[in-house]
Assembly symmetry: C2
Protein backbone atom coordinates (compact mmCIF):
# COMPACT_ATOMS: atom_id res chain seq x y z
CA UNK A 1 0.00 0.00 0.00
CA UNK A 2 2.69 2.51 1.05
CA UNK A 3 4.76 1.70 -2.05
CA UNK A 4 1.77 2.15 -4.35
CA UNK A 5 0.85 5.42 -2.59
CA UNK A 6 4.41 6.75 -3.00
CA UNK A 7 4.33 5.83 -6.68
CA UNK A 8 1.04 7.75 -7.09
CA UNK A 9 2.41 10.79 -5.22
CA UNK A 10 5.49 10.72 -7.48
CA UNK A 11 3.17 10.66 -10.53
CA UNK A 12 1.27 13.62 -9.06
CA UNK A 13 4.56 15.52 -8.71
CA UNK A 14 5.15 15.29 -12.50
CA UNK A 15 2.27 17.70 -13.11
CA UNK A 16 0.25 15.41 -15.42
CA UNK A 17 -1.44 13.88 -12.39
CA UNK A 18 -3.16 15.71 -9.54
CA UNK A 19 -4.28 14.35 -6.21
CA UNK A 20 -7.93 15.33 -5.79
CA UNK A 21 -9.34 16.85 -2.62
CA UNK A 22 -11.88 14.79 -0.68
CA UNK A 23 -14.44 17.07 0.93
CA UNK A 24 -17.17 16.10 3.39
CA UNK A 25 -20.00 17.68 1.41
CA UNK A 26 -21.09 17.64 -2.22
CA UNK A 27 -21.43 21.43 -2.13
CA UNK A 28 -17.68 21.81 -1.53
CA UNK A 29 -17.01 19.70 -4.64
CA UNK A 30 -19.53 21.69 -6.71
CA UNK A 31 -19.43 25.21 -5.18
CA UNK A 32 -21.66 26.64 -7.94
CA UNK A 33 -24.53 24.60 -6.47
CA UNK A 34 -26.06 26.14 -3.32
CA UNK A 35 -25.36 24.34 -0.03
CA UNK A 36 -28.23 22.21 1.25
CA UNK A 37 -29.95 23.35 4.43
CA UNK A 38 -29.07 21.28 7.49
CA UNK A 39 -26.15 18.93 8.04
CA UNK A 40 -25.73 16.79 4.95
CA UNK A 41 -22.64 14.72 4.30
CA UNK A 42 -21.12 13.12 1.20
CA UNK A 43 -21.77 9.37 1.51
CA UNK A 44 -18.05 8.53 1.15
CA UNK A 45 -17.35 10.75 4.18
CA UNK A 46 -20.31 9.70 6.39
CA UNK A 47 -18.58 7.22 8.70
CA UNK A 48 -17.02 8.67 11.86
CA UNK A 49 -13.74 7.33 13.30
CA UNK A 50 -10.17 7.12 12.04
CA UNK A 51 -9.48 4.35 9.56
CA UNK A 52 -12.82 2.52 9.87
CA UNK A 53 -14.67 3.63 6.72
CA UNK A 54 -13.70 4.65 3.18
CA UNK A 55 -9.95 5.26 3.32
CA UNK A 56 -8.84 6.44 -0.10
CA UNK A 57 -6.80 8.86 -2.16
CA UNK A 58 -7.89 9.77 -5.69
CA UNK A 59 -5.61 10.94 -8.48
CA UNK A 60 -6.54 12.29 -11.91
CA UNK A 61 -4.64 12.71 -15.13
CA UNK A 62 -7.02 15.31 -16.53
CA UNK A 63 -5.44 15.41 -20.01
CA UNK A 64 -6.04 11.68 -20.44
CA UNK A 65 -9.32 11.60 -18.43
CA UNK A 66 -7.73 8.84 -16.39
CA UNK A 67 -8.45 8.48 -12.65
CA UNK A 68 -6.67 6.17 -10.21
CA UNK A 69 -7.96 5.58 -6.69
CA UNK A 70 -6.03 3.80 -3.96
CA UNK A 71 -8.62 2.40 -1.56
CA UNK A 72 -8.38 0.54 1.73
CA UNK A 73 -11.79 -0.56 3.11
CA UNK A 74 -12.03 -0.10 6.86
CA UNK A 75 -13.72 -2.57 9.24
CA UNK A 76 -17.08 -0.74 9.13
CA UNK A 77 -17.57 -1.62 5.44
CA UNK A 78 -18.33 -5.28 6.18
CA UNK A 79 -20.60 -7.48 4.07
CA UNK A 80 -19.88 -11.16 4.63
CA UNK A 81 -17.74 -11.57 7.77
CA UNK A 82 -14.26 -10.16 7.12
CA UNK A 83 -15.08 -9.09 3.55
CA UNK A 84 -15.96 -5.74 2.01
CA UNK A 85 -19.66 -5.17 1.24
CA UNK A 86 -20.50 -5.14 -2.49
CA UNK A 87 -22.30 -1.83 -1.95
CA UNK A 88 -19.11 -0.25 -0.59
CA UNK A 89 -17.13 -1.47 -3.61
CA UNK A 90 -19.79 -0.03 -5.92
CA UNK A 91 -19.71 3.27 -4.03
CA UNK A 92 -15.97 3.77 -4.55
CA UNK A 93 -16.31 2.66 -8.22
CA UNK A 94 -19.10 5.24 -8.69
CA UNK A 95 -16.85 7.89 -7.13
CA UNK A 96 -13.90 6.99 -9.37
CA UNK A 97 -15.94 6.83 -12.58
CA UNK A 98 -17.83 9.99 -11.64
CA UNK A 99 -14.48 11.78 -11.31
CA UNK A 100 -13.49 10.50 -14.74
CA UNK A 101 -16.81 11.52 -16.34
CA UNK A 102 -16.59 14.95 -14.72
CA UNK A 103 -13.15 15.41 -16.32
CA UNK A 104 -14.48 14.31 -19.73
CA UNK A 105 -17.84 16.03 -19.84
CA UNK A 106 -18.43 18.31 -16.86
CA UNK A 107 -21.35 17.82 -14.48
CA UNK A 108 -22.80 14.33 -14.90
CA UNK A 109 -25.27 11.91 -13.31
CA UNK A 110 -24.83 8.13 -13.07
CA UNK A 111 -27.35 6.41 -15.37
CA UNK A 112 -26.13 2.80 -15.17
CA UNK A 113 -23.51 0.80 -13.34
CA UNK A 114 -22.85 -2.89 -13.95
CA UNK A 115 -20.39 -4.58 -11.61
CA UNK A 116 -18.88 -8.07 -11.75
CA UNK A 117 -17.66 -9.06 -8.28
CA UNK A 118 -14.92 -11.59 -9.07
CA UNK A 119 -12.76 -12.05 -5.96
CA UNK A 120 -13.87 -10.75 -2.52
CA UNK A 121 -11.88 -7.84 -1.06
CA UNK A 122 -10.85 -8.57 2.56
CA UNK A 123 -11.37 -5.68 5.00
CA UNK A 124 -8.07 -3.80 5.31
CA UNK A 125 -6.69 -4.94 1.93
CA UNK A 126 -5.33 -2.22 -0.37
CA UNK A 127 -6.86 -2.08 -3.83
CA UNK A 128 -6.33 0.15 -6.84
CA UNK A 129 -9.24 1.41 -8.95
CA UNK A 130 -8.31 2.23 -12.52
CA UNK A 131 -10.99 4.08 -14.47
CA UNK A 132 -11.19 4.76 -18.22
CA UNK A 133 -13.47 6.77 -20.48
CA UNK A 134 -14.32 4.36 -23.31
CA UNK A 135 -16.38 6.59 -25.61
CA UNK A 136 -18.72 9.56 -25.90
CA UNK A 137 -22.08 9.44 -27.69
CA UNK A 138 -23.91 12.77 -27.52
CA UNK A 139 -24.56 13.38 -23.83
CA UNK A 140 -23.62 9.79 -22.89
CA UNK A 141 -20.20 8.97 -21.42
CA UNK A 142 -19.31 5.26 -21.39
CA UNK A 143 -16.66 4.25 -18.85
CA UNK A 144 -15.02 1.21 -17.34
CA UNK A 145 -13.21 0.48 -14.10
CA UNK A 146 -10.98 -2.32 -12.82
CA UNK A 147 -10.54 -2.98 -9.11
CA UNK A 148 -7.21 -4.73 -8.61
CA UNK A 149 -5.00 -5.60 -5.69
CA UNK A 150 -2.40 -2.87 -5.07
CA UNK A 151 0.24 -5.15 -6.66
CA UNK A 152 -2.09 -5.56 -9.67
CA UNK A 153 -1.92 -9.38 -9.53
CA UNK A 154 -5.60 -9.97 -8.60
CA UNK A 155 -8.65 -8.58 -10.40
CA UNK A 156 -11.27 -8.19 -7.65
CA UNK A 157 -14.03 -6.53 -9.68
CA UNK A 158 -14.69 -4.90 -13.02
CA UNK A 159 -17.41 -2.46 -13.88
CA UNK A 160 -18.92 -0.50 -16.72
CA UNK A 161 -20.63 2.82 -16.18
CA UNK A 162 -22.88 5.08 -18.22
CA UNK A 163 -23.00 8.69 -17.12
CA UNK A 164 -25.20 11.40 -18.61
CA UNK A 165 -23.87 14.88 -19.08
CA UNK A 166 -26.25 17.41 -17.53
CA UNK A 167 -26.70 19.96 -20.29
CA UNK A 168 -26.43 23.39 -18.62
CA UNK A 169 -28.47 24.96 -21.45
CA UNK A 170 -31.45 22.77 -20.60
CA UNK A 171 -31.08 23.58 -16.92
CA UNK A 172 -30.97 27.28 -17.68
CA UNK A 173 -34.04 27.01 -19.88
CA UNK A 174 -36.03 25.36 -17.10
CA UNK A 175 -34.99 28.06 -14.66
CA UNK A 176 -35.90 30.78 -17.16
CA UNK A 177 -39.28 29.10 -17.50
CA UNK A 178 -39.80 29.62 -13.77
CA UNK A 179 -38.86 26.09 -12.75
CA UNK A 180 -41.71 24.40 -14.67
CA UNK B 1 -44.07 6.66 4.69
CA UNK B 2 -46.02 5.97 7.89
CA UNK B 3 -48.97 4.61 5.89
CA UNK B 4 -46.71 2.29 3.87
CA UNK B 5 -44.94 1.15 7.04
CA UNK B 6 -48.29 0.36 8.75
CA UNK B 7 -49.35 -1.62 5.68
CA UNK B 8 -46.12 -3.65 5.83
CA UNK B 9 -46.52 -4.29 9.56
CA UNK B 10 -50.11 -5.47 8.90
CA UNK B 11 -48.77 -7.85 6.23
CA UNK B 12 -46.19 -9.13 8.74
CA UNK B 13 -49.01 -9.80 11.22
CA UNK B 14 -50.65 -12.23 8.76
CA UNK B 15 -47.81 -14.72 9.26
CA UNK B 16 -46.81 -14.98 5.57
CA UNK B 17 -44.52 -11.97 5.97
CA UNK B 18 -41.86 -11.47 8.62
CA UNK B 19 -40.03 -8.30 9.53
CA UNK B 20 -36.31 -9.13 9.46
CA UNK B 21 -33.89 -8.10 12.19
CA UNK B 22 -31.17 -5.61 11.31
CA UNK B 23 -28.02 -6.39 13.24
CA UNK B 24 -24.85 -4.32 13.40
CA UNK B 25 -22.51 -7.16 12.40
CA UNK B 26 -22.49 -9.82 9.71
CA UNK B 27 -21.69 -12.45 12.33
CA UNK B 28 -25.05 -11.86 14.04
CA UNK B 29 -26.81 -12.47 10.71
CA UNK B 30 -24.77 -15.63 10.05
CA UNK B 31 -24.01 -17.02 13.53
CA UNK B 32 -22.48 -20.21 12.11
CA UNK B 33 -19.59 -18.08 10.83
CA UNK B 34 -17.06 -17.13 13.55
CA UNK B 35 -17.03 -13.48 14.61
CA UNK B 36 -14.18 -11.42 13.15
CA UNK B 37 -11.50 -10.19 15.55
CA UNK B 38 -11.74 -6.47 16.35
CA UNK B 39 -14.63 -4.09 15.89
CA UNK B 40 -16.17 -4.73 12.48
CA UNK B 41 -19.54 -3.38 11.48
CA UNK B 42 -22.05 -4.25 8.77
CA UNK B 43 -21.79 -1.49 6.14
CA UNK B 44 -25.53 -0.70 6.36
CA UNK B 45 -25.08 -0.03 10.10
CA UNK B 46 -21.78 1.88 9.97
CA UNK B 47 -23.07 5.45 10.22
CA UNK B 48 -23.49 6.86 13.73
CA UNK B 49 -26.36 9.20 14.64
CA UNK B 50 -30.14 8.91 14.71
CA UNK B 51 -31.82 9.17 11.32
CA UNK B 52 -28.78 10.28 9.30
CA UNK B 53 -27.77 7.05 7.50
CA UNK B 54 -29.57 3.97 6.17
CA UNK B 55 -33.03 4.09 7.75
CA UNK B 56 -34.92 1.00 6.66
CA UNK B 57 -37.14 -1.91 7.60
CA UNK B 58 -36.98 -5.16 5.61
CA UNK B 59 -39.80 -7.66 5.27
CA UNK B 60 -39.70 -11.14 3.72
CA UNK B 61 -42.38 -13.48 2.46
CA UNK B 62 -40.19 -16.58 2.71
CA UNK B 63 -42.66 -18.91 0.96
CA UNK B 64 -42.62 -16.67 -2.12
CA UNK B 65 -38.96 -15.59 -1.78
CA UNK B 66 -40.24 -12.03 -1.95
CA UNK B 67 -38.56 -9.22 0.02
CA UNK B 68 -39.85 -5.69 0.48
CA UNK B 69 -37.71 -2.95 2.00
CA UNK B 70 -38.98 0.45 3.08
CA UNK B 71 -36.01 2.81 2.93
CA UNK B 72 -35.51 6.46 3.84
CA UNK B 73 -32.02 7.79 3.00
CA UNK B 74 -30.69 10.08 5.71
CA UNK B 75 -28.71 13.29 5.05
CA UNK B 76 -25.33 11.52 5.31
CA UNK B 77 -25.99 9.48 2.14
CA UNK B 78 -25.51 12.47 -0.15
CA UNK B 79 -24.20 12.25 -3.72
CA UNK B 80 -25.17 15.31 -5.75
CA UNK B 81 -26.36 18.08 -3.39
CA UNK B 82 -29.67 17.05 -1.84
CA UNK B 83 -29.79 13.68 -3.64
CA UNK B 84 -28.99 10.15 -2.53
CA UNK B 85 -25.62 8.75 -3.68
CA UNK B 86 -25.87 6.02 -6.32
CA UNK B 87 -23.62 3.85 -4.15
CA UNK B 88 -26.07 4.09 -1.25
CA UNK B 89 -28.95 3.07 -3.52
CA UNK B 90 -26.90 0.12 -4.76
CA UNK B 91 -26.05 -0.86 -1.19
CA UNK B 92 -29.69 -1.13 -0.13
CA UNK B 93 -30.53 -2.97 -3.40
CA UNK B 94 -27.70 -5.44 -2.67
CA UNK B 95 -29.07 -5.95 0.85
CA UNK B 96 -32.62 -6.52 -0.41
CA UNK B 97 -31.61 -8.92 -3.20
CA UNK B 98 -29.16 -10.72 -0.90
CA UNK B 99 -32.03 -11.32 1.53
CA UNK B 100 -34.10 -12.72 -1.34
CA UNK B 101 -31.26 -14.97 -2.60
CA UNK B 102 -30.60 -16.19 0.93
CA UNK B 103 -34.26 -17.26 1.18
CA UNK B 104 -34.07 -19.05 -2.19
CA UNK B 105 -30.68 -20.72 -1.99
CA UNK B 106 -29.03 -20.28 1.41
CA UNK B 107 -25.64 -18.60 1.77
CA UNK B 108 -24.80 -16.62 -1.37
CA UNK B 109 -22.31 -14.10 -2.72
CA UNK B 110 -23.11 -11.23 -5.11
CA UNK B 111 -21.57 -11.95 -8.53
CA UNK B 112 -23.12 -9.14 -10.60
CA UNK B 113 -25.32 -6.13 -10.07
CA UNK B 114 -26.57 -3.90 -12.88
CA UNK B 115 -28.46 -0.79 -11.85
CA UNK B 116 -30.35 1.74 -13.98
CA UNK B 117 -30.65 5.03 -12.07
CA UNK B 118 -33.79 6.58 -13.59
CA UNK B 119 -35.03 9.34 -11.26
CA UNK B 120 -32.85 10.74 -8.43
CA UNK B 121 -33.99 9.95 -4.87
CA UNK B 122 -34.04 13.13 -2.73
CA UNK B 123 -32.50 12.76 0.74
CA UNK B 124 -35.31 12.03 3.19
CA UNK B 125 -37.74 10.64 0.58
CA UNK B 126 -39.36 7.29 1.38
CA UNK B 127 -38.86 4.57 -1.22
CA UNK B 128 -39.94 0.96 -1.45
CA UNK B 129 -37.61 -1.77 -2.77
CA UNK B 130 -39.41 -4.75 -4.25
CA UNK B 131 -37.17 -7.75 -4.98
CA UNK B 132 -37.95 -10.88 -6.99
CA UNK B 133 -36.16 -14.15 -7.71
CA UNK B 134 -36.44 -14.55 -11.48
CA UNK B 135 -34.88 -17.98 -12.00
CA UNK B 136 -32.35 -20.54 -10.75
CA UNK B 137 -29.65 -22.12 -12.95
CA UNK B 138 -27.48 -24.56 -11.02
CA UNK B 139 -25.74 -22.46 -8.36
CA UNK B 140 -26.82 -19.17 -10.00
CA UNK B 141 -29.75 -17.16 -8.66
CA UNK B 142 -31.04 -14.42 -11.00
CA UNK B 143 -32.99 -11.62 -9.31
CA UNK B 144 -34.49 -8.23 -10.00
CA UNK B 145 -35.39 -5.21 -7.90
CA UNK B 146 -37.48 -2.09 -8.41
CA UNK B 147 -36.94 1.04 -6.33
CA UNK B 148 -40.18 3.02 -6.31
CA UNK B 149 -41.57 5.95 -4.38
CA UNK B 150 -43.55 4.79 -1.32
CA UNK B 151 -46.78 5.56 -3.22
CA UNK B 152 -45.45 3.44 -6.12
CA UNK B 153 -46.03 6.23 -8.66
CA UNK B 154 -42.35 6.88 -9.52
CA UNK B 155 -39.77 4.27 -10.57
CA UNK B 156 -36.47 5.63 -9.24
CA UNK B 157 -34.21 2.71 -10.17
CA UNK B 158 -34.33 -0.85 -11.41
CA UNK B 159 -31.68 -3.51 -11.00
CA UNK B 160 -30.81 -7.06 -11.90
CA UNK B 161 -28.63 -9.22 -9.69
CA UNK B 162 -26.78 -12.49 -10.07
CA UNK B 163 -25.92 -14.27 -6.84
CA UNK B 164 -23.91 -17.49 -6.53
CA UNK B 165 -24.86 -20.10 -4.01
CA UNK B 166 -21.83 -20.99 -1.89
CA UNK B 167 -21.79 -24.79 -2.00
CA UNK B 168 -20.95 -25.88 1.58
CA UNK B 169 -19.44 -29.15 0.29
CA UNK B 170 -16.85 -27.24 -1.73
CA UNK B 171 -16.04 -25.04 1.22
CA UNK B 172 -15.57 -28.06 3.45
CA UNK B 173 -13.31 -29.68 0.84
CA UNK B 174 -11.07 -26.61 0.69
CA UNK B 175 -10.82 -26.54 4.47
CA UNK B 176 -10.06 -30.26 4.58
CA UNK B 177 -7.32 -29.61 2.00
CA UNK B 178 -5.74 -27.24 4.52
CA UNK B 179 -7.04 -24.06 2.87
CA UNK B 180 -5.20 -24.56 -0.42
Amino acid sequence: MRQQYRRLLAMAATGAWARLPSYCSAHQHLPEVPAMPGDTRLFLRAIEGAGVGFEYAMFLNAAECHPLCLFQPGPYLEGHPGLTHGGAITTIIDGTLGTCALAVAGKVMTANLSIDYLVPVPLGAAVLLDGRAERLEGRKVFLSCHVQSAERDTLHARATGLFIWLDPTKHRTREEDGGR
